[in-house]
């Protein structure tokens, strides 16, 4: 079911300031990002010729991290799940802002290595997170999470072009979004929330994901914000 597209409630809204204060330095094929709140995240460069490369941080991740910085109550004390986690930037920002525990999941074996290194860089305890190598399609959660954060591979990619593990989203871009939505109610507490970065083919003003949301989610309201 779709509500009419809304353009705000008519009130004058102020742009949310950027609290990230993000800087970065490149060393060989790695990037080290530093944030104003002390968080440090290591990724790999975009041009590393490796299908398993760890995606550098960009605007999609930055927007979710900035939202958490402004509204830390959404993560404070929460049990968080970051799927397609890569470096773990979203989950580690949640931990930095007081999340109780974060489970990171990624099918890429290199992601676990980066998550462990990023945890060490930020002095997080092993008891605060779990770095899990696995596929969202077969992942068996031991409990339901309060918050799910996800930046799935979303680049629409023709069959015949290999692409990267972190970006190839299949012919319509939603191959992994579908998997996440199919598993979301199993993983998310009824009172829980999720934030998902998307890149969408749009038909008549409506992204293709709309039909998937209605099909796979139970009794939820989803706000889609174009960026």
């Amino acid at each position: 079911m779709r509500d009419d597209t809304q353009h705000g409630d008519g009130a004058v809204q102020r742009p949310l300031p950027n609290l990230l204060q993000r800087t970065h330095e490149v060393q060989d094929d790695q990037i080290l990002y530093r944030f104003g709140n002390g968080l440090t995240i290591k990724t790999e460069i975009l041009r590393k010729p490796d299908r398993l490369r760890i995606l550098p941080l960009g605007a999609p991740q930055g927007s979710l991290m900035n939202h958490m910085l402004h509204f830390p109550d959404i993560v404070h004390g929460k049990d968080v799940f970051e799927s397609f986690a890569g470096s773990g930037a979203l989950g580690f920002m949640a931990l930095k802002l007081g999340a109780r525990h974060v489970d990171f999941l990624d099918v890429n074996p290199c992601a676990v290595t980066f998550q462990v290194e990023n945890a060490a860089l930020n002095h997080f305890l092993a008891s605060q997170y779990s770095a899990i190598e696995g596929d969202i399609a077969t992942f068996i959660p031991t409990h339901k999470y309060d918050l799910i954060l996800a930046n799935p591979p979303f680049v629409p990619t023709p069959d015949g072009i290999e692409g990267t593990l972190t970006s190839n989203g299949g012919p319509e871009g939603n191959r992994f979004v579908v998997m996440l939505l199919q598993r979301l109610e199993e993983c998310l507490h009824p009172d829980g929330q999720a934030f998902i970065c998307l890149f969408q083919l749009v038909r008549h003003g409506e992204p293709l994901v709309c039909e998937l949301l209605v099909r796979h989610l139970d009794h939820r309201v989803v706000e889609l914000t174009p960026s």
């Binding site: 975009l46 929330q193 038909r203 709309c210 989803v222 889609l224 174009p226």
Partner: protein
Amino acid sequence: MYCRSYAEIFPEAQAAIARWEGDLFGKYGDALMLNHYVAHVGPQTDGPTRYVIRENFTEKYGGNLLVPLRNDKQLSYGRIFENILDFSGREAAWPS
């Protein structure tokens, strides 16, 4: 634009790209656009699942955190480049 950009960056895969473009157009029509979104899934309610598309990015996620691409061609190239394994020779196609 997006399919054309793929063909410019991967000229050796023209046939596969043309098949893909034809499949998309056959299924969804030829007026497809592309855009980034953030989906915020809320807690369960008593009602059915519903969605709203709201133009509130700057107020909710940040005034200067929009994907920094100036036009459809740059948007297409920006995302496709994220998906490239071998950059050799492909950067010549980058739009100025």
